[in-house]
Subunit: 337 residues, 2 copies
């Protein structure tokens, strides 16, 4: 399968002495690149959502450690700062743990650069593999709905859920894609639609709240989403709205697929109940494009993730394989020690 | 019960020779009034969403007919044009039918002005009554979630779902209100929060997609929404997103209340399957505040209503009374001829 037509975006680029990041806050209006000259700037880019998407955050953080090593910074401090940049994404912890293991083993800066490059390369390969595995579950002439952005922008390339969609389109199984806007950051509207239009994939944007009505119309057979953390029982934390989609999918008999690299699986977290949900600034809901849209004095509640319980998930796809109707036993069989 | 503290907004005001409308597109940033000098301007205001909310649309249309009569316009033509302004809201048809009945009976312009005033006055009285009936269903110290705007702005005053919330707050039964943003027009963010903050009611805005996560937290005991059309079996068409809320509420054991004047009930429509769902311009999803936010070439699907089936509704509240767990039989008993 030749996927290259569907894989032309690289949002995280190592430049030898700095990291180049496509600023996802400005897309699709502007394609601006941020040159991060040190780990502090990478931490800030993660915090500010200039780079986002669980795998991309992990990759950027790994490069942050490598860059700090090259510059002789105290690596323990750098690891701590990077780790605190976003609390929910487990890939960040996973990538930093992997870098730390190399540091403890005495790796020099060059070896840490190689390790970061390996993390990035393996992510791309995992996405290609997940694309094939996930698309194989989908019948021809299907419509699918996705949420947030899980594409090349969110990963080393190709994408997780959007990788499955790309593979499904390339294999002739998916005819049409619906993307939810994904308030308040509009990752679906701004980023996923940008990727889909660039790739010439037949797609339409919907309001997040139109998903159930869409499912009722019969136009979608699968909801396909990424993950920020998958617990040991299959419960999956992902962008706010994922849980609602999973409930509506079950109600309509629409299938629900989670696609994420195995680094997203956190076997130390027993269930979704234990996952910390990041609350972000209410201002994200009170203003749009820098302009106040809600009356002064108004308050908001802005959780940016939620948890879809395993009972609502039909398939978890990682590069290691597919788990259908996940539970503690099947998760342990694939991801246990 | 003294509700006046919670009822200070009048968005549709008859001025003797023209109709004054609070332009809901500009709130909360600007409080601008539109002076409609003839029925054509009222039709345009309904089409453009300067006036919105099913009861308010019906009231504005009734004033359009009265104004046309005063100005000697051909009333049949005016009725046809007004009727076509918004297809889903049955109150519009109901108000125009009521005006037409008076016209057929030979009413003069003065009588038609009195009829429009009666429609407006009865709506306010109905809202006060529904507020009491709906709030009586709610236990003390409850949290509630509402969607879109169903307040004073959407009605003659006080509101339907928001009227129940106002009454519930006044009666000490509701401690806290959550309002969904209601994409793409943001009626919840712009209008409902404006009303809640003006009334000093404890409230927070949420992204539409955060509703299920909110319900899981246990913070809300009721979802309370308005209606644009209620079919003979209790199926309810309302703002896009209502259906999704009803599904999520059922999944969590959160109660679901529909509040609307009896003029919203359409016994000639057997079920929700027969209700025409208005599709609006995809541009509403592709741009924000006049600025393109989605990549050029992107398409969107923009249904602005959906249908919550009766099986997901715990109570329909009209000024005639409460129907719990509505179905064709209980609906017929209250609304049949």
């Amino acid at each position: 399968m030749d996927y290259d037509r569907y894989d032309r975006i690289r949002a995280v680029q190592w430049q030898g002495d700095h990291l180049r990041l496509l600023d996802q806050r400005l897309l699709p209006g502007e394609e601006c690149w941020i040159n991060c000259a040190d780990a502090g700037q990478i931490t800030q880019a993660i915090k500010d959502l200039a780079v986002r998407g669980a795998p991309a955050i992990g990759i950027a953080a790994a490069w942050g450690v490598a860059l700090a090593a090259k510059q002789g910074e105290p690596l323990d401090e750098v690891l701590t700062t990077l780790r605190a940049a976003r609390p929910t994404a487990v890939n960040l912890m996973w990538a930093l743990d992997r870098m730390k293991k190399r540091i403890v083993a005495g790796a020099d800066a060059a070896a840490l650069v190689r390790e970061a490059q390996a993390i990035q390369d393996e992510d791309l390969a995992a996405n290609r593999r997940m694309g094939e595995l996930g698309a194989a579950l989908i019948r021809t002439h299907s419509g699918v709905l996705t949420h947030c952005n899980t594409g090349s922008l969110a990963t080393a390339g190709f994408g997780t859920a959007l990788g499955v969609i790309r593979a499904g389109v390339a294999m002739g199984r998916i005819d049409h894609v619906y993307a939810g806007e994904t308030r308040p950051w509009q990752q679906g509207a701004r980023l996923t639609m940008w990727e889909l239009v660039r790739d010439g994939i037949s797609a339409q944007l919907i309001a997040d709240s139109a998903a159930a009505h869409l499912m009722k119309s019969g136009a979608v057979q699968w909801v396909i989403v990424g993950a920020d953390r998958i617990a040991a029982n299959g419960d999956t934390a992902n962008k706010i709205g994922t849980y609602q989609l999973a409930i509506a999918a079950k109600y309509h008999g629409v299938k629900f697929m989670v696609v994420a690299p195995s680094s997203t699986v956190d076997m130390a977290t027993g269930s979704g109940e234990e996952i910390e949900i990041e609350l972000r600034d209410p201002a994200e809901l009170l203003s749009t494009a820098g302009k106040r849209t809600v009356v002064e004095g108004a308050r908001a509640w802005n959780p940016v993730f939620d948890v879809a319980p395993a009972e609502l998930i039909d398939a978890i796809v990682t590069e290691r394989g597919v788990i259908e109707r996940p539970n503690s036993i099947s998760m342990q069989a694939m991801f246990g020690w």
